[in-house]
């Protein structure tokens, strides 16, 4: 069963081709890392996956729902962490999360218990009433990850979620999301340009200049080489 399926997806900004006939599937409960240098098309792909804009060509299915035909059903199944922070800095963690829960139709006691569970899972329970502005970068990101779990999605989309974080926070967040995929069977698409965030048993999708160069398990693809070296070699070949 596939959690996320993308078929022949292309997108252009005017004459510039940002995505060129991209197709891949991510199995339910799999952690897939979308690795690509800056400008590879990762953010465009995320905008299409979250329907911020729609592609004229290609098909996207999220947990079996076609994003073009049943956008609401598909969007209800995804949890997103955007590259740019999307928290209201002047509101508390709880208020930010309550707002998000309501956008997904959850309110009152049901919303509160889900928010508490999500914060607990990310180790943020004791910060629920702190103002987001007072949190450090790592805790803000954790808040955003907790937020995207509230409505029990089946697919998580994270667009370079560790950008700007220190090494310890980066590792903690990467491990957390790997755990989420393993423990509760979430399908994860994790966009990054940092190879140390990817484990050998993760699914690896290498995107370069809008095209999918490789698709397989990270350990199999890299062979004896460190992943960083493998990645640099493969992208250099395409220059």
């Amino acid at each position: 069963m596939t959690g996320l399926s993308i078929c022949n997806l292309s997108y252009s900004y005017g004459t510039r081709r940002a995505l060129d006939d991209v197709s891949f599937d991510v199995g339910a409960g799999q952690f897939a890392a979308l690795l690509g240098p800056n400008g590879a098309g990762k953010s465009t792909l995320f905008s299409l996956l979250t329907r911020l804009f729609a592609a004229p060509d290609g098909r996207i299915e999220i947990d079996g729902h076609d994003l073009a035909r049943a956008p609401r059903a598909a969007l209800a199944r995804i949890g997103v962490v955007f590259q740019q922070p999307t928290l209201d800095l002047d509101l508390s963690v709880m208020r930010n999360l309550t707002y998000f829960a309501a956008l997904h139709g959850l309110s009152g006691r049901a919303a509160r218990s889900r928010i508490e569970a999500a914060l607990e899972r990310l180790g943020m329970a004791e910060r629920a009433h702190e103002r987001v502005r007072d949190l450090n970068g790592g805790h803000r990101r954790r808040t955003e990850i907790a937020r995207c779990l509230i409505h029990s999605p089946s697919v998580l989309l994270l667009d370079e979620p560790t950008v700007g974080l220190d090494a310890a926070s980066r590792k903690a967040i990467t491990d957390h999301v790997h755990d989420l995929s393993r423990d509760i069977g979430l399908t994860v698409l994790w966009a990054t340009h940092l190879t140390d965030e990817i484990k050998d048993d993760d699914r690896l999708l290498i995107l370069h200049r809008g095209r999918l160069l490789q698709n397989g398990f990270a350990g199999d693809l890299r062979g004896p080489l460190p992943l960083q070296e493998h990645f640099l070699m493969r992208t250099a070949e395409q220059r």
């Binding site: 900004y13 953010s43 465009t44 905008s47 979250t50 329907r51 911020l52 804009f53 729609a54 004229p56 956008p71 609401r72 059903a73 969007l75 209800a76 995804i78 997103v80 955007f82 740019q84 922070p85 999307t86 928290l87 209201d88 002047d90 509101l91 208020r95 309550t98 707002y99 998000f100 309501a102 956008l103 997904h104 139709g105 959850l106 309110s107």
Partner: protein, 263 residues
């Protein structure tokens, strides 16, 4: 409560929470019309004589005349400021969060409109209260009758801001909106002078004022403040509101991809 109403409630509440946090914005929104009322109107009182015209049944001072226009000014500036915050939101990402909610996009945009209008109405009433404190009072029933007029005007101007925000590429372009939308809309309207006064200097300017939806919104407010109903003004304001809202929905349509300019 259904999903759509839960979301509406949350979006309005969030706008209110943000507003409470930004007290400077509240003071600024209030100071602008008060300066017009207490300084500009006082200065022009002698220069601009006003004859009796509906809804006024007697001679009025210039301060009394411009109160509805200044209520409109609050709604106009707020509608545009809300568009500024949408551009800012879009850059900062929280607009992304809103637009990825599993609800129809037109509903999400409408919720934002209702939220910003609610805040505008609050400010307009505060302005009316301060004006009353300075002795510029309306009939008591007018303060109730004006509520729907303020709501329709707020929605219409908010929808215009929303439509503009889908077209603005950068935050800096807001200065352009100020010069090319807010000022012409305000000055080429019946907010500061009645149509007949405008006609004395130029019939072309009078005609422009007559088709400006902001003029009709101001007249809707003016009549409502005196407990009177102006069907023509309501029709124009509502029609403009619908057109602006449809433009906004079109601008934010995912297939149109206007958001993509922001990447």
């Amino acid at each position: 409560m259904t999903h759509a109403l839960v979301a509406l409630n949350a979006i309005v509440l969030r706008e209110a929470q943000r507003f409470v946090q930004q007290r400077g914005r509240f003071v600024a929104a209030l100071v602008r019309p008060l300066i017009w009322l207490l300084v500009f109107a006082a200065g022009f009182r002698a220069a601009l004589g006003l004859s009796i015209a509906p809804p006024y049944q007697t001679y009025i001072t210039y301060e009394v005349y411009i109160v509805p226009g200044l209520c409109g000014m609050i709604l106009l500036f707020n509608g545009m400021q809300s568009s500024l915050s949408l551009v800012y939101d879009r850059e900062m990402g929280s607009m992304r969060l809103l637009l990825t909610a599993p609800l129809p996009r037109w509903w999400l945009l409408f919720c934002r409109l209702v939220a910003s209008t609610a805040i505008s109405i609050l400010q307009a009433y505060t302005f009316l209260a301060v004006a009353a404190a300075f002795g510029i009072r309306m009939p008591a029933s007018g303060y109730i009758a004006v509520l729907p007029a303020l709501a329709i005007t707020g929605i219409m101007l908010g929808a215009l801001g929303l439509a503009l925000s889908s077209l603005i590429k950068q935050l800096e372009n807001f200065a352009g909106v100020m010069n090319f939308v807010i000022f012409p809309m305000f000055f080429l309207s019946t907010a500061l002078y009645p149509l007949w006064k405008m006609a004395e200097s130029s019939t072309l300017l009078r005609d422009i004022c007559a088709v400006n939806p902001f003029s009709h919104a101001v007249e809707l407010i003016r009549f409502a403040l005196y407990g009177q109903f102006n069907a023509g003004a309501l029709g124009w304001t509502a029609l403009a509101g619908i057109v602006f809202f449809l433009l906004a929905v079109w601008g934010y349509d995912p297939a149109r991809g206007l958001l993509r300019r922001k990447g």
